[in-house]
Amino acid sequence: MFIEYSEEQSMLRDSADRYLRDNYSFESRQAAIKEVRGFSADHWQTFADLGWLAMTFPEEYGGFGGGALETMILCEQFGKYLVREPYLESVVLVGGLIEAGADRALKEKYLSGLIAGELQGALAYLEEGSVADPTRVQATAEHSNNGFAISGKKTVVLNGPEADFFVVSARVGGKKESARDGISLFVIRKDAPGLSCNNYITYDGRSACELQLHKVAVDKESLVGDLGNAAAIAGPVFSHGIVAVCAEALGAMDALLAATIDYTKQRKQFGQSISAFQVLRHRMVDMYMEIELTRSLLMATAWKLDNAAPDADQCVAALKAKMGKAGRYVSHNAMQLHGGIGTTDEFSVGHYFKRLAAIGVMFGSRDSHLSRYSKLSV
């Protein structure tokens, strides 16, 4: 350590930055999220054509063999430009799980579609009553003729309305609610009999659904990972998910600080730019310092994941905890320093704020990761 980008990684960052700067205006994003689909199919196809959707998959399935660093590089740009397209949901989470746990036939069936931008996936793992706890699973998978019958209810299935298929967690055998053991993951197509969706939009401009499953039949080959051992593959994929959302958050925080600096220089009250007031200058300096600390932790964590460092898990917990604090501090102060204008739908600042609010609780809040960090480090 420490991390220097390879030539390929620098190119990836620069090309993502350039493409999004030239083609992904806030206005076009806002127009797209008001459409039924909620994002631009054209952008998604371009992401595929540019190879972004393939970046982290193995070469034998048409990918480029990248890891957490590549995820981080892309997602940071996505955050900076407030990209709404479901890269996290479809590629990082669903693609990541299939790559980690599906058998060869299933991989061939789904990964090429995800990489080509032709298929959309959604992860259905949350249930009512509990937050960000992938082990609280009451949905069941009963053995039946040739496979399983899945029943239960899943909530906050992000990208569910757009998904062609789901990866669903269900408990095989015993009904214990919170044990890590006994949970399995299954690929289920959206048109499977017995499956129904209640679609909705979220405050941060994305889409989600509740998923009802009533004895949905799946064959044995739809199992992702070993039976009853979803945790073995879900853990590492969630770590990548945390890197992805924290990178997105970092890009969003950079954008918020830049916007706040700009605005406070332009905005004049009491005969001067409000950036001249010391109390506001110091607030922006503190925003900057929070961002830089988070950036260091993010880069180190991505590197450690890619290099299977022994303290990688600890760093993941530290990163999510730190991001929770930084995201709140930076977004709250960006809002405060913009005053009324920041509270409007018309202006981008509030949309970054809402995205950071969502990321703050995804995959566990700051507190849950602080607890995890202290357990791992003592």
Partner: protein, 395 residues
């Protein structure tokens, strides 16, 4: 009357008078405003009972209650989920007219405020004049028996529901900026006046921008003396800052958090209420809320003794809003991803839409989002701290 007897009387009245729809409107509030129409229904119930303006002197329609009784009334209304009455006429303009208005103005406007016939919005901030309110430029120029107003006001809450607006306008460019400001009353249906709604981050419209294009207003609509509107405004701002009891808002927030903590799990089978980290964080905010409650009682005591809240109203505004925001953060942490759903039709009172996800989380994200504005409006937290620095600490 003994306070507990009074409290019983208020409770009995609320039980009898609040319809399910009104309570739903109170429950579903995601900002300081309730659904306008339902809040207006409640306004009328209070008007017929004679309880619509407890803060006004009795001869103008007040209740004659002690400060304690007024506090009890506010508290019971809030905890019974009564929808917030849209209060700019009652809390701001009314007291101001009683202080500065002519007999004709009082006779005409005050009864209409009480009955709800007029709904008033407030035209203070302008695109270029927020924290530095005295730099406002919307101008009223005298023309015979009228003023002609040109300019624009922004962050005008519920202007789309109001039929009248009270404004600060510039009537002179001489001297200090504060010296050329006047206070004037304008009909919203005046020719040349238009309202542009501003969509908020939660997807609803509470704020507006109001445009004045050669709007002609009779000169008798001026309140107080021309060019001395700043004194009027300062008087009003103290009402805005000091008249609110944040402790009551906090109690409603804590009741909500309690419901969430008793029904939602932090992990596995651990309810949030049994999560030690959460319990400690909640207690931390609750202790600050308790300290603020006693501070508000001190302020009330000072009022009762004939004193003035002075800069203590800045203290309660800063701390009250910041504590409220911390409760919003706790609530969001507890609901987690379940707070993501944006279901605006389920937030309308009287709707029959089934809420998606746990009903105790339906308003969580909107409250978190909307309440960021609490440290911005009515004098930002920074401006309030400046006031305390100058007027209390003499820095």
């Amino acid at each position: 009357m003994d306070d507990s007897v009074f409290r019983n009387e208020v409770q009995a009245f609320l039980t009898e008078s609040l319809t399910p729809e009104m309570k739903q409107a109170g429950e579903l509030m995601t900002s300081v405003f309730a659904d306008f129409d339902v809040a207006m229904d409640w306004h009328k119930v209070l008007y017929h009972k004679g309880w619509i303006a407890p803060d006004w002197p009795q001869e103008y329609g007040g209740t004659g209650w002690t400060l304690n009784q007024r506090y009890i009334f506010q508290e019971e209304c809030k905890l019974a989920n009564a929808p917030a009455v849209f209060a700019l006429g009652l809390q701001m303009l009314g007291p101001m007219l009683i202080h500065y208005g002519t007999q004709e103005q009082k006779d005409f406007y005050l009864p209409r405020i009480l009955s709800g016939e007029d709904s008033w919005c407030q035209g203070y901030s302008e695109p270029g004049a927020g924290s530095d309110l005295a730099s406002l430029i919307t101008a009223a120029v005298r023309d015979g028996n009228d003023y002609i107003i040109n300019g624009s006001k922004i962050w005008t809450s519920y202007a789309q529901h109001s039929n009248k607006i009270f404004c600060l306008v510039r009537t002179s460019k001489e001297g200090r900026p504060q010296a050329g400001i006047s206070f004037i009353l304008v009909d919203m249906d005046s020719t040349g006046l238009s309202v542009e709604p501003i969509v908020g981050l939660d997807g609803t419209v509470e704020q507006c921008q109001v445009f004045f294009d050669d709007v002609r207003v009779p000169a008798v609509n001026l309140v107080g003396v021309e060019n001395q509107g700043w004194d009027v405004a300062k008087y009003l701002l103290e009402f805005e800052r000091g008249g609110h009891n944040y402790a009551i808002d906090h109690k409603k927030q804590m009741a909500k958090i309690n419901r969430q903590a008793n029904s939602q799990y932090s992990s596995g089978n651990t309810l949030w209420k049994d999560n030690k980290v959460f319990a400690a964080k909640f207690a931390d905010v609750a202790v600050d809320a308790l300290a603020l409650e006693f501070t508000e009682l001190r302020v009330k005591g000072a009022f009762e003794a004939g004193g003035n809240a002075g800069a203590l109203s800045s203290l309660t505004k800063v701390m009250g809003t910041e504590i409220g925001q911390r409760f919003n953060e706790l609530s969001l942490e507890m609901m987690g991803e379940h707070a993501f759903v944006q279901q605006l039709d389920a937030l309308l009172p009287g709707c029959e839409v089934e809420p998606i996800g746990p009903s105790c989380g339906l308003t969580t994200m909107a409250e978190y989002i909307n309440n960021r504005a609490a440290t911005i409006y009515g004098g930002s937290a920074e401006i309030q701290r400046d006031i305390i620095a100058k007027r209390v600490l003499h820095l």
